[in-house]
Amino acid sequence: MMRASRNYPGWWAALGHRLSGLALALFLPVHFLVLGLALDSDAALDSVIAWTDQPLVKVAEWGLVMLLTLHLGFGVRVLALEFLPWRDPLKTLISLGAGASVLAGLLFWIVAL
């Protein structure tokens, strides 16, 4: 169960950073595998790219874009609070980062459709 003492934006941001990092680590080998197909033949890569046109796969890709931008945003947050002079409105920074990743997700839909 969620500990009461952990229910604040900074902890959720830290959890989001780790979980998005783990999910991306699982995705990366698949990504490199697909890129590796291009070395074999055009056809193999093209068939994978055709497969990614399915709606469900598009949703998964949207998820990946969100994960990447969330991971980037939360990572920049950690760097900022460790290497820059402290700023008090950290919660605002977190919201800005989360907002930016939602925007990136929307942009993906607009480009993809």
């Binding site: 009461a4 604040y8 900074g10 460790e82």
Partner: protein, 244 residues
């Protein structure tokens, strides 16, 4: 006609009894105006459970001895009003997390204070008492950084809130590192190298994950995470210059 006592608003209070293998026990405590959590514990001790063990001294938020877990969060109980924390008239009061339990609500604070020593929390003077006082400008950036951290009351609320303290028994914790940060910024401290050495070892400032639980829970509004981040930068700079 109903008796006044029957109509009195009551709180349901669960209090930890025993050591590690104890259990929560439930009490009914009359609700009062401007009642603090410490008032509730004291009421139980005086009226229901004379053997209840807990700590307090000043009751005004200066001594740092009355911290407990209240509904899952570490808090200074003397300055925590029941109206702010009771959930549907229920209070669950337990001993501070991340510390060995002695009896009921009293924890063994020894590991907490040993870590202050581990972080070299003792001031090493540059002058003796026979010399004139060192002039320190209150406007210097280092003094301002030190001033921001010196109001710690040693209540161990940050220590109980910290995830890393729970994971790594060697981690010095936010309060000890905050103390080290104030000394690192004190021009009158003679052993900066020794200090940076102490806080950069295993379990030192580099173990901090910057979750910020200490900042979130510190009752006097200090920011240990900022101090620990400062120590990270300071030790890194010392390493680059070959001083560490």
């Amino acid at each position: 006609m109903q008796d006044t006592a029957d109509r009195e608003e009551m709180l349901t209070v669960e209090i930890w009894r025993g050591r590690e293998d104890g259990a929560l026990q439930t009490y009914r405590v009359p609700r009062r105006e401007s009642q603090t959590v410490l008032d509730v514990v004291t009421w139980v001790q005086r009226n229901e459970e004379p053997a209840l063990a807990y700590r307090f001294a000043c009751r005004v938020g200066m001594c740092g001895s009355c911290a407990m877990q209240v509904n899952g969060k570490p808090r200074w109980t003397c300055r925590t009003h029941v109206s702010r924390v009771a959930e549907n008239g229920l209070l669950r009061i337990e001993p501070l997390a991340n510390l060995p339990r002695i009896k009921d609500l009293a924890t063994d604070m020894a590991p907490f204070f040993e870590k202050w020593q581990g972080a070299r929390g003792r001031h090493e003077p540059t002058r003796t008492r026979h010399e004139p006082m060192a002039p320190v400008s209150s406007e210097s950036p280092a003094r301002k950084a030190a001033n921001a951290g010196i109001e710690c009351i040693n209540c161990a609320v940050c220590y109980a809130a910290c995830d890393v303290v729970g994971w790594d028994e060697n981690y010095l914790g936010p309060a000890a590192l905050n103390r080290a940060w104030t000394l690192a910024n004190d021009e009158r401290d003679a052993d900066k190298a020794g200090l940076l050495q102490a806080v950069s070892q295993g379990g030192g400032c580099h173990s901090c994950h910057s979750h910020g639980s200490c900042v979130e829970h510190c009752p006097v509004g200090l920011n240990p995470t900022a101090g620990i981040a400062g120590l990270k930068r300071m030790t890194l700079a010392a390493l680059m210059k070959g001083e560490l």
